[in-house]
Every structure is written in C-alpha cells, then in structure tokens.
C-alpha cells in the first residue's frame, strides 16, 4: 500500500461511520475497526523493509512553486509512531464500542476519531514540513471535536476550548519556526533539512526558529508552562483520553522533537531549553499527580510527568538518551493507555472516579485489578515490567549529565520525580483496589464484558513481555527507530533487566523506598496540600482569555460604531492618502502622447454628462429626478464608448442601463420617494471636500495615464494577432471573452447567476416573513395610474417581441466576427421579455413563461461547462476552442466555432440572471395589492365593447 493511501485511508474511512451507524452500533464499530486495520496492515507490509533500514518514499508534486509537495516517507521513527497510532487506535475503537452509552452519537465519535487518526498518521509520515503543518493543525481541530464530544457538559466544552487555544497558539508558533527552518535550508523537504545540521545551527536565525518550534512542541506535548490544558481535556470520554492523551496526540510534540533532533539538538540552547523544561515538567507533574483524587486527573498529571521525562531525555542531546527516549515512548504508550482504559472501566462500573470514594475493588473487579496492578507497577518502575527498564536507563543517562557544571542537580531531581512516580502509582493500586470492601459505591461495581477489558489486557500482557524479554520483543524496533532519530551510528546500549550494581540502581532503590514512605504519609501531606495556596491554571487562563476578549471588544466597538458613511469616508480618505503618498513620493514621466483633437460631439456629450452629474448631487433628494439624471449619465457613457471605437461596450452599456433603471424604478416603488434633509452644512462640506479630492485624484490619474504611453508593451498585440488564426473570429473583444479569457468569463457568468439566485432567495425570505403579509394588506396609494397596462403599450411590445428576439439572435450570431455576442444578445432578449411584464402585467407574463429562470441559468452554466469539458476529449486543456468551416449548400460557407457553444452558455446565463433579478423584484409589487388579472390590458376595447353597448 502506498504511503499516501495509508495516510488517506482514515480520512476516507471517516465517511463510513456516519452511514454505518444506521446498521447498528456493532456494525459501525466493526467498519471503523476495519478501516484502521486495513491501514495498519498496509503499514506492516512495509515493516520488514524498514526494519532492514530502508526508507520507503512516496512523492507527489502539489504546489512545487511554493515548495509544498505531498511527500511521505517511512523510516524507523515513522514506523514506530504510525504503528502506535494505528495499533492503539484499533484497541480504542473496540473499547469505545462498549464504553459509549446508548444515547451517545457513536457514528459521530468514530468519524472524529478517524479524522484524528488520519491527521496523526499524516504527521508521522510527512516528508514535507508544510504538509506536516497541515496535518498538525488538523490534529488540533479534530482533537477539539473529540474533547468536546460530550457537548452537554460545560467542562467538556471549556476543556476543548482551552486545548484548542493552547495547541492552536503553539501551532501558529510552529508554523513560524518551520518556515524559518525551511528558509535557512532552502527546502521544505524534511529529508533535505535533516542533512543540513551545520547550516541550520550556524544560522543567526537558529535560536528564533528553535524557540518557535519548541513552543509548538511544548504546547502539544503539555510541557510546563503549557501543561495545564491536558488535565482539563480529561473531560473527554475515556477512549479519547486513552488515545489522544496517552498514546498519540501529546506524543506529537515529542515526535517532532525526535524528528528534528538531528538538526536542532546538540547545542547548549537546545540542552538548556529542552532538558530544563522536561525536568521541571517531570517533577511538577509527578508531585501534583500524587494529590489528585480523580483517577483520570492523576493519570493526566502522570502523563505530563512522563512526557517531561521523555522531553528531558531528548534535551540531553546524547545518542544514548535519544535511544532511551524512544524506548520510553513505547513503554509509556503501553502502560498508560492500559491505565486510562482501566480508569474508564472503573468509572463505567462504579460510576465514580474519585479515589476517596473507592477502595476494596480487588474482589469485585479482579480482572481490572490485575490489569491496573501490572500497568501501575510498570509506571512505578518495578522490575520485570517494561517501565523499569526505561527508567533505569533514564536514571543512568541523568546521572551522567551535569547542569551548569553541577553534576548533582539532574540526578537528584529525576530521582525525586521517580520517587513521586512510585508514590502515585502505588496509591492508584492501594487506594482503589486494596483495603476493605465498602458499601457506599454509587453503583454496584463488577468486571465489564470481555470486549471492554480485552484491549487493556492485551496492553498489560505487552507490558510484562517487554519487561521480561525487552531485546526480543522490541529490540529491533528500538534500534531502527532510534537510528532514525540519531541519524547516525547507534551508541552502545543493551536492553536487559540486570545491568549490575550501578548508580541508577541505587537511585532506583531510593525512589521506590522513598515513594512508599511518602505514600504512607499521604493523609497528612494531602491535608497540607489542600491547605496550601496554589495557582489555579484554569482561573489564570480564563482571566487572560477574558481580558483579551474584553480588549478586543473595546477596540471593535470603538472602531465599528455602525456608521456606514464613517467607514466609507475612512476608506476613501485612506485610499486618497495612499495615492497621494505614491504620487508625491515617486516621479512620473511627462506627457508622451499627443492630445487628440476635440470635435463638437464630445463637447456636447461632456456638457450633458457633467451637468447631469452636478444636478444629481444637487437634487439627489428627489429620488425619481436623480434616477432620470443617472439615466442621462449612463447614456452619455454609452455614447462615449461608441465614439471611442468600442461598439461592443456601447451596446452592453445601453442595455444594462435599461435593466438597471427598471430595477431601480421597481425598488423605488417601495422606498420613500424623497431623501430627508438630515446632514448639516458642516457634514456636507466635509463630504463635499472628500468627494472633490477623490474626483481630482481619479481625474488627474486618468489624465496622466491618457497622456503617457504604455510603460511596457501591451499584450493586446498578441490578442490581435492570434484572434483570427487561433480563435477563428475577427471581433477580438468577443474572441477574448469566449476564447482567450474564456475561463474568466465562465467564472463571471457563474457569479452573475449566483447573484440572481441570492436575490431570489432574499425575496423569498422577505416575502415569507411578516413583511410579506404587511405588504399584502398595504393600502393602495392614491396617485396610481388609472390605466396601468395601456393598450398602445401592450400592442407595441407584442409586435416588438419577435423583432427584438430576432435582433437578439442576429447580434448573437454575428458576435464572433462583428460587434455583438452572448452578453449583449442576452441583455437584449431579457429586456424584450421584461417589456412584456411591464406592458401586460406580471400574471399574464408569468403564465406564459415556459422555463423557470433558475433552469435557464443552470442550462447556461452547463452549456459553458460542457463546451469546456468537450476539449478534454480532443486531448486539450479545459475550454480550448476549435473551429472549422462548413459548407451548407444553400447558404454557402459557414464558420462554426466551439466558442459559439460557450457563448450560448453566456447568453442563457445572462438572460436567466437578469430575468430572475427583475422578476424577483416585481414579485414585491405583485404582492402589494396587485389584483391578479387574467387580462393583459386594463382597458381592452374588444372586451369592453359589449359592456359599453350595454350601458348605452
């Protein structure tokens, strides 16, 4: 199985649980398990090769220009982590089937779980740091969904939010760090970066990159001072805690540190930041864990402590410590996942996880007792369990590590950490399972069914097997994974139980003995702990978040006071200011073009335009008059187009003008007919000044542009030269639209169609709201025309209709070679149709409408799309146009271009969109007391004749 498929499988599989849940919970769980199992098998197929030291690769270019490639690689480290993620994932899926209650939406849970699994697998297999970052963010998002799975619990929601805030923030830092790293090396491919240790460490940007990357790792792996989110994330269902917070997500930070170890490690900065943080976290987590009564909180802080331990080992920077770190990752994943699942079992059966309310469970839950005992003894570091082996090696590594030339600090603190670790592990066993049986459990506890205890039991068996025969069980895996971390020769080490009498053994004995003594004094210590004033992480976090939110609100409220003119004027002033800065800051070339001579026509047009614009400003409060004046301006713009050799634009402008004025008239029917005089003279002066400045700026810019030549050669020459031979048309404008820039046009007609659909949807929602009812009952206005559908107009529009349609067809057909085309033809046909509505009334016209306008838009988009796709069959890119000349006997030679079919799509889209927009607006009018009339004319002589005859 290719690596991309292994990474993609959980994502694809995430679609299944939502569907399969309809077939029952067991089927759903099995389906999910099958997805993970398939991916796991796909991974294990590669295992023999990886164990031989080969690196499996998969490469796919995505955006090579950005250095973003879908490159995956599988080496020892990747195999170890992917195996953990998929293997423990499989156990968790089985366990969750029995853990989740009947009312929990299981399909959703498995979907989230698979999304998370895919993201994790993606992280550990990525060979491109940009790709890795994408997966990294996906784990933050999917873990947010998983932690907040019980949406009804406030702690769940808050915990999810906190986890997302902390890990998301770390993710941002990580992005920065990784980009710096990639820039130093000049490649975003991990395998390249890993080869460039000297280059990276010599760079002045090494420290910033290191700190940013470490913030990402520390937040993800809950290292001090970011450790606080992990205990709060325990509000998640236990399968989530067992999966995310022991075996996988929190190890993502460790993975990244291990992955980048060959380039980043080995410097004093690395040692003092990473090892110190790890050491503090390890001791702090262990101390707090001892005083937690909630089983999951205890395990959470113990996880924090063990993550600190592994971080510290990676921080040492020695190959031996790296081997120990890898070994402990395996061991911790096995015993901690087993413990989390067991804690879930206790919670599930006894209905409480409070240690103070438990005790004496060993007879009631013997199976769980055995599992917990095995796993907890391993966590404590007792011989014959796997935790002992890595702890011994850790103490060994610590005893050889001086901190600021002091040889005692690191061994002493690690021993204290181990001591507390022993204490809380034994507390977990003794206070939960030993002691007298109680009779006040919230529920009657007993061992769960096989399906629920089998997954932790399997892990417990592994704990023992690795503990007894480490070299046999995991020796090769540790070797190949640490080889990948170190990226060179493996140091001397041996995975065995008895290393002889050495410092580590003494320290270990001190830790076990001290831990047991500590536990025996637990009652008194606990009371003291509860009395002590401790900083509460959640309160601090909440107040920080609250403060930031408040500050953001203040800024937003200050800037956004709801005054649109204010926003607009700020925007305009800023634009003018930026333009002025550019103008006065730079130098412009002088005029290089001759001024074109002016004839009388432009002067008349200019006068009309300027006077109309000025009048519009002066009389804008009379809205109807302003609309008429705007019509004049629009007309003059069309004239300008035609005068300056742009007949296509003139035709478009004039037909759009008609449609726009109709639209505004329809709207004005409901809006107030006048604008009140509200703005004072100061305000008018201010707005007038801004407007005058804007006008001068834009006008001046236009003048400078018009009087200077093109700074670079225009690409128009290319279009002119290729229009006929390449696109088969002499109207270059149309050929550009349907051929050269066809994809642009395709997008634009879709936008137009969407705009019309938005209008339709808004009309629906307004008319179906109480507003619609109000409109219906609105009394008719007094100044209504007596004859709304005059005979003359009805007859004229009907006669015009076929002519207008024919003009439309004509304009369309000539479009490729002469001015015209789909846009203009569409507008003309739409106006011809609108005229029928206006003349004969909405009902009359709507009754004769054959196709809904939505369908017209859709047909247009499809026509354009299929034309484009058609060129694929000729083996060319989307929308490549083709044309040919055909002999049709009576009419002579004809040119047919595929661009024509595309233009049909444009035509249909424009007709549909314009009609849908206008029709929607006129439906307001229709609602407003427009009595449906079956007749096209209010006064019809042929109909009214008998009436009059009767009267006379």
């Amino acid at each position: 199985m290719t690596l991309i498929l292994i990474a993609a499988l959980p994502f694809l599989g995430a679609l299944l649980p939502g569907l399969m849940i309809r077939a029952g919970r067991t089927v759903c769980a099995w389906t999910t398990a099958m997805v993970t199992l398939t991916a796991l098998i796909g991974l294990l197929v590669h295992a023999p090769a990886v164990m031989r030291g080969e690196v499996i690769r998969y490469q796919l270019e995505w955006m090579p220009a950005l250095g973003l490639n879908v490159n995956f690689f599988l080496d020892g480290l990747g195999l170890l982590f992917a195996g953990l993620i998929l293997g423990i994932g499989l156990l968790i899926i089985i366990y969750a089937r029995f853990y989740l209650a009947r009312q929990d939406p299981m399909g959703q849970f498995y979907t989230y779980l698979l999304l998370f699994q895919g993201a994790m697998v993606g992280i550990v297999l990525s060979d491109n740091i940009l790709l890795l970052l994408i997966f990294w963010e996906l784990t933050s998002l999917s873990s947010f969904l998983l932690i907040g799975y019980w949406k009804h619990l406030p702690e769940g929601r808050q915990g999810a939010r906190m986890a997302l805030a902390v890990t998301g923030m770390g993710g941002l830092a990580l992005i920065g760090g990784m980009l710096i790293l990639g820039n130093i090396v000049g490649s975003y491919d991990l395998s390249v970066i890993l080869q460039n240790k000297e280059l990276v460490q010599a760079s002045p940007l090494y420290l910033p990159a290191l700190i940013l990357i470490l913030i990402g790792c520390f937040t993800k792996s809950a290292q001090f001072p970011f450790h606080f989110w992990l205990p709060h994330a325990m509000a998640a269902p236990t399968p989530v805690s067992a999966y995310l917070h022991s075996a996988t997500m929190v190890k993502a930070g460790l993975f990244l540190m291990a992955r980048l170890w060959p380039v980043l490690a080995g410097t004093p900065e690395w040692f003092y930041i990473v090892a110190t943080t790890g050491l503090i976290t390890m001791v702090l987590g262990a101390v707090i864990a001892l005083f937690k009564d909630d089983l999951k909180a205890l395990l959470a802080f113990s996880t924090v402590s063990h993550l600190g331990l592994i971080t510290m080992l990676l921080g040492f920077g020695t190959p031996f410590a790296a081997v120990v770190a890898v070994f402990h990752i395996i061991n911790h994943a096995t015993f901690k996942a087993a413990l989390f699942m067991s804690a879930g079992i206790v919670d599930h059966e006894a209905h409480t996880r409070d240690i103070k309310r438990l005790g004496g469970l060993r007879h009631l839950m013997p199976v769980t007792f055995v599992i917990v005992t095995v796993a907890a003894l391993s966590m404590a570091g007792i011989p014959f369990f796997n935790g002992f082996l890595s702890k011994e090696m850790m103490l060994d590594a610590a005893s050889m590590t001086p901190w600021l030339d002091n040889p005692w600090i690191v061994p002493a603190l690690t021993t204290i950490g181990a001591l507390f670790s022993v204490a809380y592990s034994f507390r977990l066993i003794i206070h939960t399972f030993l002691g007298p049986k109680r009779d006040d459990y919230p529920a009657h506890p007993h061992d769960p069914g096989f399906g629920m205890w089998a997954p932790p039991a399997l892990l417990a068996v592994l704990v023992v097997l690795i503990g007894i025969a480490p070299a046999l069980m995991v020796g090769p895996l540790v070797a190949v994974a640490s080889g990948a971390v170190i990226g060179g020769e493996l140091p001397y080490y041996s995975l065995k139980i008895w290393h002889g009498v050495n410092t580590a053994l003494y320290l270990s004995i001190i830790a076990v003995a001290g831990g047991l003594v500590l536990l025996s004094r637990h009652r008194g210590l606990d009371a003291a702990w509860l009395r002590a004033r401790r900083p509460e992480a959640k309160a601090i976090f909440d107040s920080v978040v609250g403060g930031i939110t408040q500050a953001a609100n203040r800024v937003t409220d200050g800037l956004h006071d709801g005054s649109m003119p204010r926003y607009a004027s700020v925007f305009i002033v800023v634009v003018i200011g930026a333009g002025a800065a550019a103008w006065f800051g730079g130098t412009a070339a002088g005029a290089t073009r001759e001024v074109t001579a002016v004839g009388p026509v432009p002067i008349v047009g200019w006068l009309l335009l300027v006077v109309a614009s000025a009048c519009m400003v002066i009389f804008h409060r009379d809205r109807l008059l302003a609309l008429v004046l705007m019509g004049i301006v629009g007309l003059m713009v069309s004239v300008a187009f035609i005068y300056m050799s742009a007949p296509d634009l003139a035709m478009t402008q004039i037909s759009v003008e008609v449609a726009t004025i109709i639209l505004l008239l329809l709207a004005l029917n409901f809006l107030p007919k006048t604008t009140p005089d509200e703005s004072g003279s100061a305000r008018r002066w201010r707005d007038g000044t801004i407007a005058a400045l804007g006008g001068v700026a834009i006008g001046g810019l236009t003048l400078v542009m018009l009087l200077s030549d093109f700074p670079q050669e225009s690409i128009s020459a290319f279009h002119l030269a290729n229009s006929k031979p390449g696109g088969g048309g002499t109207n270059v404008v149309n050929v550009i639209l349907v051929d050269f820039r066809g994809f642009d046009t395709f997008g634009e007609v879709i936008v137009l169609g969407i705009g019309a659909l938005v209008i339709f949807a808004m009309t629906e929602s307004v008319l179906n709201s109480p507003v619609g009812a109000w409109l219906k009952q609105r009394p008719a206005t007094n100044d209504k025309a007596g004859d709304r559908h005059p005979l003359m107009m009805v007859v004229a529009t009907r006669v015009m209709m076929p002519i207008a349609l024919m003009v439309g067809v004509f304009i369309f057909l000539r479009g490729h070679n002469e001015p015209g085309g789909g846009f203009i033809a569409g507008l003309i046909v739409a106006i011809a149709l609108v005229m029928q509505y206006m003349a004969s009334g909405f009902d009359w016209a709507a009754a004769r409408q054959r196709f809904p306008y939505h369908a017209t838009i859709a047909m247009g988009v499809f026509a354009a799309a299929f034309t484009g796709i058609g060129s694929w069959f000729a083996g060319r890119p989307f929308l490549t146009s083709n044309y040919g000349y055909f002999q049709i006997p009576p009419m002579g030679e004809f040119e047919l271009a595929t661009a024509m079919a595309f233009d049909v799509g444009v035509f249909l889209c424009v007709v549909g969109a314009v009609m849908l927009a206008l029709e929607s607006l006129s439906r307001f009018a229709h609602r407003a007391g427009d009595r449906p009339s079956p007749y096209p004319m209010d006064i019809d002589p042929s109909r009214d004749q008998p009436q009059e005859a009767k009267d006379s």
């Binding site: 407007a691 006008g695 229009s723 709201s769 507003v771 424009v910």
Partner: protein, 124 residues
C-alpha cells in the same frame, strides 16, 4: 479629448463619492452606480483614446482600437449590474423589514417586524 474624458471621469467619481457618503440607502446605491461608470470608463481609458479606429479585424488597416480593456470592461458592466441588483434588494429588504432606510445602525433602531436573519441582513 484627453482632458474631457479625464475631467468627466473625475466629475462622475466626485458625484459618486459624495452620494456614497449619504445616510440613506437609495442615494448610496446611486453613488455606487456613478462610481461604477467612472471606474468602467477609467479601465476603458487604460487602452488610451482611439477615435474612428476599427474595433474588428479588417484587412485594410494596421491599427485597431485596443481590444483588451474593452473585453474586461464588458464583463465588468454586466457584473456591476448583478451587484447593483443585489444591493438594491438588500436595501429593499432592510427597508421593508424595519421601515427605515438609514444605512447606519442607530441606537434607536425601530424593531423590524421580521425576525428572519435574511431580512435583517441588509442593515449590517
């Protein structure tokens, strides 16, 4: 001719900006339309002024009007119609819902009869 075109564009922009800064929806829509004219003409002008030049390929003459700005402005005109239509409907929906055509939020906003978000959308 250059001066005429540039000043016309400037006057239309000024009128558009002034109307854009008014406090009621209808003048604002008119202002947007005026700015649209100005911008379209400006884009068109980037091809420089060409008078009496053929817009389509003929065999006689070697010079033509610049087709590229024309093609870009053509779609811009049609799209701006779509945009105007959407804005008009927003204004209309907002006015019908709240009986108020002010563009700004005011503390004393009369409560709209409709509670549907789509109808209130236009007030943002």
């Amino acid at each position: 001719m250059e001066y005429l075109l540039a000043s016309a564009i400037g006057v239309m922009s000024a009128a558009g900006i002034y109307l854009l800064l008014r406090m009621r929806t209808f003048p604002v829509i008119l202002g947007i339309s005026m700015l649209t004219y100005a911008v379209n003409l400006f884009l068109f002008a980037s091809g420089r002024i060409a008078i009496n030049l053929p817009p389509v390929l003929l065999n006689e003459t070697p010079t033509y009007a610049d087709p590229l700005p024309q093609a870009l402005v053509l779609t811009a005109i049609v799209i701006s119609f779509g945009m105007t239509a959407v804005v008009v409907l927003l204004a209309l929906g907002a006015f019908l819902s709240s009986r108020n055509d002010e563009v700004s939020l005011t503390p004393t906003d009369p409560q709209a009869p409709a509670t549907e978000p789509a109808a209130g959308e236009g007030r943002k």
